[in-house]
């Protein structure tokens, strides 16, 4: 009996501590890191800060947040979402627009804000590669700053939220690592610096726009959805052309997915051009769903009228001869 108690005294704490260790190990929080190649920058130098997601064994499918920085120290030059793990942006990372609210406007002058939210359909647990073992963090997007004046500061992530890929949208435990920096008067050599950013020579990838309609949006009108990916500089914008001619015209209009079609009869060819930040283009074509009848071509009517006039003139000539 005594031996049993002795065993129990040893086994129970060992098991409990093992359990606690395993619980602690398995419930690590997902991490959002703001990282850069350097913490010291010279005044007027450009540097890049990447927002990275380390899933830490969880599967994550949605993310949102706000990045803030001092406008007195930094100026945002570019927001790059090329090679992002986010496939669909609910709000593409962008600078918050200045408001008419006076107090807010004063704050806007001092503090820059980048707002973003997006999803990774099918979830993200880390990037795999043939060249390393295990999973590595994935990039959400990059910010390219120019330093303005001497000083110290941080680029902060605020209101960060990541949701688990569990079908319920459960918030994951989240650890945040902000980026602290120091701006010096002298120029600093930034290790592995990619500035100036090399040219992106690749076009966005092939994509397939889709026509849809639903009574809950756009009064049931047909609309077009599309999403192109660009692993280099990232998608800059889209342009659209609707034409009843098969031949592509010259008039493009800038548009976003979702785009309400002008031709609700779906008899037009729709050209969608994805343009990346380096100006490379990829064009996708959507064939008309319904055939255009011959009498719907203006050219057909012009030919008929001309043919009619010619026939009339011939008839008159023949009549005069007689």
């Amino acid at each position: 009996m005594k031996i049993e108690n002795y065993k129990l005294k040893i086994i129970t704490p060992v098991l409990v501590s093992c359990l606690l260790w395993l619980v602690a190990f398995s419930s690590q929080a997902a991490q959002l890191h703001l990282t850069s190649q350097t913490r010291e920058i010279g005044v007027g130098q450009q540097f890049q800060v990447d927002l990275m997601l380390d899933a830490e064994g969880e599967s994550i499918n949605a993310i949102e947040g706000k990045i803030t920085f001092s406008k007195e120290l930094l100026e945002i030059k570019e927001i790059s979402d090329g090679d992002s793990i986010i496939n669909l942006w609910v709000e593409r990372p962008h600078q918050r627009q200045a408001t008419s609210d006076k107090r807010q406007a004063t704050s806007d002058k001092r503090q820059g804000e980048i707002i973003f939210s997006g999803i990774i359909p099918t979830g993200f647990a880390g990037v795999l590669s043939p060249y390393y073992e295990g999973e590595r963090p994935g990039k959400i997007f990059s910010l390219i700053f120019t330093s303005k004046s001497e000083g110290e500061g941080t680029v902060n992530l605020e209101n960060g939220k990541v949701l688990l890929h569990d079908g319920l949208g459960t918030p994951a435990k989240l650890g945040i690592l902000n980026f602290e920096f120091r701006i010096l008067k002298r120029e600093v050599r930034i290790p592995d610096s990619r500035f100036p950013i090399p040219e992106d020579k690749d076009s966005p990838e092939d994509f397939k726009p889709e026509i849809a309609s639903n009574q809950n949006v756009f009064e049931g009108k047909y609309f077009l959805v599309f999403a192109a990916q660009d692993k280099g500089s990232g998608i800059d914008h889209y342009e659209i052309q609707e034409t009843r001619n098969k031949r592509q015209g010259k008039k493009w209009i800038e548009a976003e997915s979702t785009y309400v079609l002008k031709d609700q009869k779906l008899k037009s060819y729709i050209y969608v051009k994805a343009v990346d930040k380096a100006g490379n283009e990829r064009i996708a074509v959507v064939e008309p769903r319904y055939l255009i009848r011959w009498y719907e071509f203006p050219l057909a009517w012009i030919i008929i009228v001309i043919a009619g006039i010619i026939a009339y003139l011939i008839w008159r000539k023949l009549k005069n001869k007689r």
Binding site: K7, G82, I85, T122, G123, P130, A212, N216, F226, G232
Partner: protein, 333 residues
């Protein structure tokens, strides 16, 4: 009593270890195939560049597959005498097991990129080419004989420009269905689905206690397990299954299916209809549904859309990140 405590602690400990092993047991092999002369520092046929030991990821100008990194500054490589541009294909090949003669769908960055039909032995190979170097999120799913979809297997892969990346040993999880949505306590409920032929199938029924059952799939990959409902209490219970072949290949768990233990038998329909996240009721969750949800993001919902939001999303009367997360979970592409 104390012996029971030790037993309980030990069983929890073992279960905990087991549940972790489930997560880590599901592995795939990732390899990359590149030109064998790549890396010798000499630009040869089929190479855009070759910086020898300096080949690598950005900021290196030349990739490990001897293709110019699209980020990489400073063109290296020999000044092109005469030959025109060199085309080096960048592709990814997935191979593994699904179900006999089933359709396997490959999603690339959330959109359908390719489909393939598995052989009678359930082996499949599906590939996508024309890629650039960078991070891609690939997902695979299959559909069984009865049109029931498997859960998605996701592979975020860093693709090297100019190389063929092989992801092998993929084992798509079994499909799962039950013959009754409600079973009279004491009666059997049939849990069935499809996997690779002659696989060991483990069925887990989760209630207050977790029950494990074992069966073997037949030559067509079909499995059936009759679960005695008298083991569990009245109420809702959840079942899932996973497959293994000779302790080498282990699938992840299937999606979870629920059933109720009650006072009567109600026969169930096959779970081949997607409802959550499917806002236009076309049986798919894709960019169209995302666009419909995005339309209502930060807008008051219309009276006609409110019932859809309640039925297909989280039902809180607004569209926010949680709704998009639900949609992402049920994504089909």
């Amino acid at each position: 009593m104390k012996k029971q405590e030790v037993g309980f602690l030990f069983s929890v400990f073992v279960l905990f270890l087991f549940s972790n092993s489930i997560v880590f047991a599901v592995t795939v092999n990732i390899t990359a195939t590149v030109n064998p002369t790549c890396g010798n520092g000499v630009v040869e046929t089929g190479e855009q560049c070759d910086a020898g030991g300096s080949n690598g990821v950005c900021p290196a100008a030349c990739s490990v597959a001897c293709a110019a990194n699209s980020c990489g500054g400073g063109s290296s490589g020999g000044g092109g005498g005469g030959g025109g541009s060199v085309y080096i294909a960048t592709s990814v090949i997935f191979s593994g097991r699904a179900y006999p003669k089933s359709a396997v769908t490959l999603l690339k960055d959330a959109q359908i990129a390719a489909t393939a039909i598995a052989g009678a032995d359930a082996n499949f190979q599906v590939s996508v080419s024309g890629l650039l170097g960078g991070n891609y999120i690939f997902s695979l799913y299959s559909e069984d004989k009865k049109g029931v979809r498997s859960s998605l297997l996701t592979f975020p892969v860093s693709v090297t420009s100019g190389a063929t990346t092989n992801v092998s040993g993929v084992f798509i999880s079994p499909t799962i269905a039950v013959d009754k949505s409600e079973v009279k306590r004491g009666d059997d409920i049939a849990i069935f689905g499809q996997s690779a032929p002659q696989s060991d199938i483990v069925i887990s029924v989760n209630s207050e206690e977790e029950f494990f059952g074992k069966t073997i799939s037949d030559k067509d990959g079909i499995y059936l397990y009759n679960f005695d409902s008298s083991f569990v209490d009245y109420g809702t219970h959840y079942a899932k299954s996973k497959a293994s072949i000779g302790n080498q290949a282990v699938s992840s768990f299937s999606s979870v299916i629920s059933f109720k233990v009650g006072t009567k038998n109600i026969f169930a329909q096959l779970p081949n209809k997607i409802e959550k996240g499917d806002l236009n009721s076309d049986g798919r969750v894709n960019l169209v549904d995302f666009s419909i949800a995005a339309y209502w993001h930060k807008r008051p919902l219309s009276t006609t859309f409110k019932p859809t939001e309640i039925e297909r999303l989280n039902g809180d009367g607004k569209i926010d990140l949680i709704d998009f997360s639900i949609m992402a979970f049920y994504w089909t592409g």
